[in-house]
Subunit: 136 residues, 4 copies
Amino acid sequence: MTGFAGETRLRVRYAETDRMGFAYYGVYAAWLEVGRVEYLRARGMVYRDVEDSGRLLAVRRLEVDYLAPARYDDQIIVRTRVTAIGKSRVDFESEILREADEKLLARGRVRLACLDRKGRPQRLGKELSRVCAPDC
Amino acid sequence: MTGFAGETRLRVRYAETDRMGFAYYGVYAAWLEVGRVEYLRARGMVYRDVEDSGRLLAVRRLEVDYLAPARYDDQIIVRTRVTAIGKSRVDFESEILREADEKLLARGRVRLACLDRKGRPQRLGKELSRVCAPDC
Amino acid sequence: MTGFAGETRLRVRYAETDRMGFAYYGVYAAWLEVGRVEYLRARGMVYRDVEDSGRLLAVRRLEVDYLAPARYDDQIIVRTRVTAIGKSRVDFESEILREADEKLLARGRVRLACLDRKGRPQRLGKELSRVCAPDC
Amino acid sequence: MTGFAGETRLRVRYAETDRMGFAYYGVYAAWLEVGRVEYLRARGMVYRDVEDSGRLLAVRRLEVDYLAPARYDDQIIVRTRVTAIGKSRVDFESEILREADEKLLARGRVRLACLDRKGRPQRLGKELSRVCAPDC
């Protein structure tokens, strides 16, 4: 798994399952979010502080490919990396795996735009640009 | 059903079901919220405006009794009323029914505290007190 | 808005907002689901019955483009259509608009695969194929 | 904190916050669920296996007292214990604390009923009764 610098573990909650017995497809967005936040934390950046300083990273685009279902109580690994960066934009990519056998369950891509509190685009700034330098 | 002045309808979403095939127990909190907001709207008050004017109604206590399961795609009725009011507090009570046979599925009670933006208690004020005058 | 045969209305819940004050990006998946289910219902098909008869429509791929934020209490329109159909696959596309000014807030695409109860692909069957004949 | 035998840690997700900037009140139900499941796991019982063997623990009653808000990215501790047990019923109690200063944020109580797959009450059985012997 070259190039995936961040790794987070979580367990599928009952709240996250649906009638089919698997994790609901919308829940993956929250897992991808956890992956991104922990990716930043592992590089010394707390996303809460980024927001408090007036830089909001808003999701512009989400893509998820669902390859195999995540079941209730499965231990999950979220591997996250940055694939591209622009002046006021970052592209993240994540892989979601089942820990037991490292089976790839889903692949997700998220494009974030950097906004100020009024919702206007702003530059990522030095620190975010450094932390989000593409991994691959 | 005396004294239930507000009535809202909603349909159980797939996203709201869990592995047991029923609506997850935590989802009822959101339904109770919808019930309260529509209760206010029916009396001419938009809760969003209340917040924008600096009065936050924060939940202090939640109680739900689950009597029968809500199933996926069931049409649900939420009946809401105010049972008590204080200087900076309102108590709501709701009944959640299945529309098809008006079977009572759950009963919920929520206590709200009126706060300012810094989280300090403040009085409900004239308008909220009038709108939330107990129904029973 | 040519070719959008299904239309559903919903209101942004407090539960669906996040710290930024807008609807959380993961919530759109549930809205797209509501759009698809109501699309089918408008054509005389209840998705719950489809599942009960042993045909599960599992999400294989999700794409969402977020164009403008949905705010708390906004009334939202979800317009849904089928863009393609295969032997055991349907592609849905939805537009999410703010009712007040019909501003386009997001565009979503979902690919569904038809599975049996054991998770094996199966054909959509006559009725689903008829109901999901592409609108455009 | 006498008598709290189970302890779980989790971090408040962005997905779990609401427009007020705090964790949404309905989210606590999921945290209480995680607390109960980890309580059982710490005693050698995997709730998924309990369900697979035909015993469902359905929530009959939920009570939450919200004492102080949980903020985005806060590390949270959920402490869980059993307070009472019946032939086909278990009562759990949890405390939710902020890890940084061990401040008590909420207290939750959940009553579970043991059901078979058809929703009929059944006895907890020997193993569940042993594992859920009240802690206090």
